[in-house]
Subunit: 188 residues, 2 copies
DNA sequence: GTCTATAAAGTGATAGAC
DNA sequence: GTCTATCACTTTATAGAC
């Protein structure tokens, strides 16, 4: 899509507000003020409010996918290390990267049908990465169970961290990720 | 608080709409229509929209707490059985009971400060039940790690099921709960 | 690319009759 | 306890000047 640097910056600011207030409570006036322009000017960059949400979610999911792939590339090849890399990457996009991934996860239902159709393949690609890494861990006997169930439980546990975890606290995101992975692996 | 049978019924219907549409997108007119009255009449039962949300969340958390306590009472005393009972009870309030618990979990931030203050003790009591049961499992050597971290990961995994799990599908909520507990327990 | 001004519709809530 | 009618305000979005 259109990716002018201006539009990218606006998308970044929108993501921040959507996380703080939620999509529904964020008005175009709030968005415009945060961007230092008047609300009318906003519609020169985006067709409507929906398109702003779609842009944020597209960036958020794209980031998550890119960071996960990079982490896997840089990870040692062992199934355990790759599992850990995925969990760390997930928390990285949630807390240390930008707010866009949080919006993608928590405001997905607010997308209209056509935007969902357009973005679902991105989301599916990300989840497929998880299923694949979990499959490797299953094959290696590291964990046991259904691959879809495990990936959904793990993603749920990770996603819910945005409700309680403070990245400025004593535990780093990486440590948090490691503790989750330790929890699902039978004692060694 | 006030708990006339009429008000209880209205609260139940409100919970359903809040789950379907989200609190922000549910208008007082939608609520009234669902209840078979006009929007003006709604304010005879509730002071304002906030009070409806507070009523729903109070009922949802109260239900979750009551069902969890009952399940623990009826459970065999072993730490593993009690852990399983808590997970089953959680999914029961999420899927087979009412929608109120889902609202309590996903719309908590929409409460105003005084309502949060009034209801947080209920929520804390519920979470304390979880921490206690997890402590018992830790003491018995069933699981390993930090009790708060484990309870939050487990609750996150359970809460996120509302995003993907279909209770009308092939797996019952009880089976789902059992698979999660199996996932966090080292192989026996 | 941003402004001002405003349209068009929807929002939560109130007053007073029945 | 419900109705009708309506207020006061906010919302997204548009039009046209600069």
């Amino acid at each position: 899509m259109n990716a002018s640097p201006r539009r990218k910056e606006l998308t970044r600011l929108a993501a921040q507000l959507f996380v703080q207030e939620g999509f529904d409570r964020t008005t175009v006036r709030m968005l415009a003020q945060e961007m230092g322009i008047k609300s009318g000017s906003l519609f020169h960059h985006f067709k409507d409010k929906q398109e702003i949400l779609a842009a944020v979610i597209e960036e958020g999911t794209h980031n998550a996918l890119a960071i996960a792939k990079r982490s896997l590339d840089e990870s040692p090849p062992s199934p355990e290390a790759r599992l850990r890399a995925m969990a760390r990457a997930h928390l990285e996009t949630l807390f240390t990267d930008r707010n866009a991934h949080v919006v993608a996860l928590f405001e997905w239902r607010r997308l209209d049908d056509s935007a969902k159709a357009h973005l679902s393949h991105l989301r599916d690609a990300y989840e497929a990465l998880w299923v694949q890494v979990i499959e490797e861990a299953l094959a290696a006997g590291l964990i046991h169970g259904d691959r879809f169930l495990i990936s959904r439980f793990v993603l749920g546990a990770l996603n819910w961290t945005v409700r309680w975890y403070d990245p400025a606290g004593p535990r780093t995101p990486d440590e948090l990720a490691d503790e989750l992975i330790a929890m699902i692996m039978p004692a060694r």
